[in-house]
Point group: C2
Chain length 242, copies 2
DNA sequence: GCTTTGGTATGACCGTGGTCATAGAGGCTG
DNA sequence: CAGCCTCTATGACCACGGTCATACCAAAGC
C-alpha cells in the first residue's frame, strides 16, 4: 500500500487508429464546430485512442487531470460520488461528446468520475496540447462556453428540482431527456435511472411500476421503452442536458 | 401591459466614476489577475458604474445578456427561481466578484436573477466589448475557467448534498462557508439562509434554535453570530463556493 | 451442474422535513 | 401614534420517500 504507483493513472488500452478516422471524429464532435479542416487535422494529430471495457474507469475523482477526453464509440457516464457512496450521474456521453471540458484548463483534481457503460473508445489529448490548441483557435472558447453554459444551467435546474419536485416528476424528466437523446428504447437499469434522478433504486422501481400500470412505459431487464411519450410531456418541462 | 418597454432592461442608475477608480476595481477583481496595468485601464475604460438600492434587480431571468457585471461595492445575490416561486441562492457577490461570467459569451437568456441586497454599485461592460477584450488577453480564459470550475463543482456538490445530507448538515455547511467569507457575524435573515441551504424558513428557524441551544451560534433579527465554529467543523466538509 | 451476482419487485415501517396556522417582536411609514 | 410589513418562533399534522427485508429471476462464473 505505501508503494504509490505513479503510473497507475494510465487508463485503458491504446488502440491503433488512422489520422483520418480521428479527424472524422473531431469533425462532428460537440464543441469543435467552426474549425477549418487543417485545424481539425492538427487536433486529430494530437489525439490517441484508448479502449475501455464495460465498467472500466476512464478517469477517477481526486486525480489531477492529464488529458482532454472525447468519446469516439460506446457510452460513458460521468458522475460524482459522495463520501458515503452516493452517486449522481450527470452526463451520458456518446460519440462526439467531451467528458471533461474544464479539467484540462486547470489541471486540478475534481470530483468527477467517468466510467465506460459499454465497450468504448475514447480519444485522449494531453491537457497542455489541448489548452494550447484552444488558445490558437479562440472560436473554441466560445463553443466551450456555450457547452458549459448548458452544463451549469442543467446542474442548477436539477438543484431546484431536488427541492421542489418529487421523485415521480424528476424521473419523468429524466425519461423525457433520454427519449430525446437515445430514442424511445432506453437501455438503462433502474439503478442507473435512479442515479440520474437523484433517488434510490426501490423508489425508481415503484415509480416505474406506476407508469407501467398507466400504460405509459414498458420495461424489461435493463431496458425501458416509452410507449406514450405524450402523456409525459408538459410544455413547461424543458429537458435536462445529459 | 401590451406596451412592451424595449428599453426596460436598462437597470439601475448611472453613477459618475473616475477611470482611476474603475481600474482599481478591476485590478484586484476576481478573475483579472495577470493583466498588465495598461490592459486593466483599457478594460476600465469600457466599464460604467450603476447603482442599485436594496431589493433592486441587477438582471432578471429569461432576458438576453447585455453586459458583463462586476460588483464594485455592496452585496448582490445571484439566484435561480423556479416556476413555482422557489428560490435557490447560489452566489453572494461583493466587491471584485463577477455576477455572470458565462452570459456575455453566449448572450442567451438563462434563468439567473441578480438582486442587490444592500445599496450597491455594479460595473457594467457591454458584452461584446468584454468578449473582445478576453479574446485579446487569453490569460483571462484560464482565469475564467478556474472560476467556472469552482462554480460547477459547487453546484454538483450541492446536488449530492440535497440527496444525502439532511437540512441540519446543509445549513451548517452554509454557515461555515459564510464564516469563511464574511466572518463570524453573518448579516442574513433566516429566509436568506434557507434559500442558500435549499430548505424552508421554518425548518431553518427550527434548526437554528437547536444550534442556539447548543451554544454554537447566537442570533438576532437579521443576523447570526457563530460562537463556536470548531463545533461545526468537520475535516471532510469542504466549504461551498458562495 | 450449481452457486453467485445483479436486476426486478413489493411489503412494512417510520423519520425527516414540508405545510399550515398562530403569535409576538422589531422596524418603517404616513 | 397607529398601521403595516418583515422576521422570528413554535406547535400540529402527515406524506413522501428512504431503509430494511424478502423473494424471484436471469445471466454469469466456477
Amino acid at each position: 500500500m505505501p508503494v504509490s504507483r505513479l503510473t497507475a493513472d494510465k487508463k485503458g488500452e491504446p488502440v491503433e487508429s488512422t489520422l483520418e478516422a480521428r479527424a472524422e471524429l473531431f469533425q462532428d464532435a460537440m464543441g469543435f464546430g467552426g474549425l477549418g479542416r487543417d485545424q481539425i487535422e492538427k487536433l486529430a494529430a494530437l489525439a490517441t485512442l484508448r479502449r475501455f471495457s464495460k465498467g472500466e474507469m476512464v478517469f477517477e475523482q481526486d486525480q489531477p487531470c492529464q488529458y482532454f477526453h472525447l468519446v469516439a464509440t460506446g457510452l460513458v457516464k460521468v458522475y460524482i460520488c459522495s463520501s458515503s457512496g452516493y452517486r449522481m450521474t450527470y452526463l451520458l456521453a456518446r460519440r462526439g461528446e467531451p467528458l471533461n471540458l474544464i479539467g484540462p484548463f486547470t489541471g486540478d483534481p475534481r470530483f468527477l468520475c467517468a466510467e465506460a457503460m459499454q465497450e468504448t473508445q475514447v480519444a485522449h489529448i494531453p491537457r497542455h496540447d489541448f489548452v494550447g490548441f484552444v488558445a490558437q483557435n479562440p472560436i473554441l472558447f466560445n463553443n466551450i462556453m456555450a457547452i458549459l453554459s448548458k452544463a451549469v444551467d442543467s446542474a442548477n435546474s436539477r438543484l431546484i428540482d431536488m427541492v421542489e419536485k418529487r421523485v415521480e416528476e424528476r424521473l419523468i424528466r429524466v425519461l423525457l431527456t433520454l427519449l430525446d437523446k437515445f430514442g424511445a428504447e432506453i437501455r438503462l437499469t433502474s439503478s442507473e435511472l435512479a442515479e440520474l434522478a437523484g433517488t434510490t433504486v426501490e423508489t425508481t422501481l415503484r415509480t416505474m411500476a406506476r407508469l407501467r400500470s398507466l400504460g405509459i412505459i414498458e420495461s424489461e431487464r435493463g431496458q425501458v421503452k416509452i410507449i406514450r411519450p405524450a402523456s409525459l410531456k408538459n410544455p413547461e418541462r424543458l429537458p435536462l442536458w445529459v
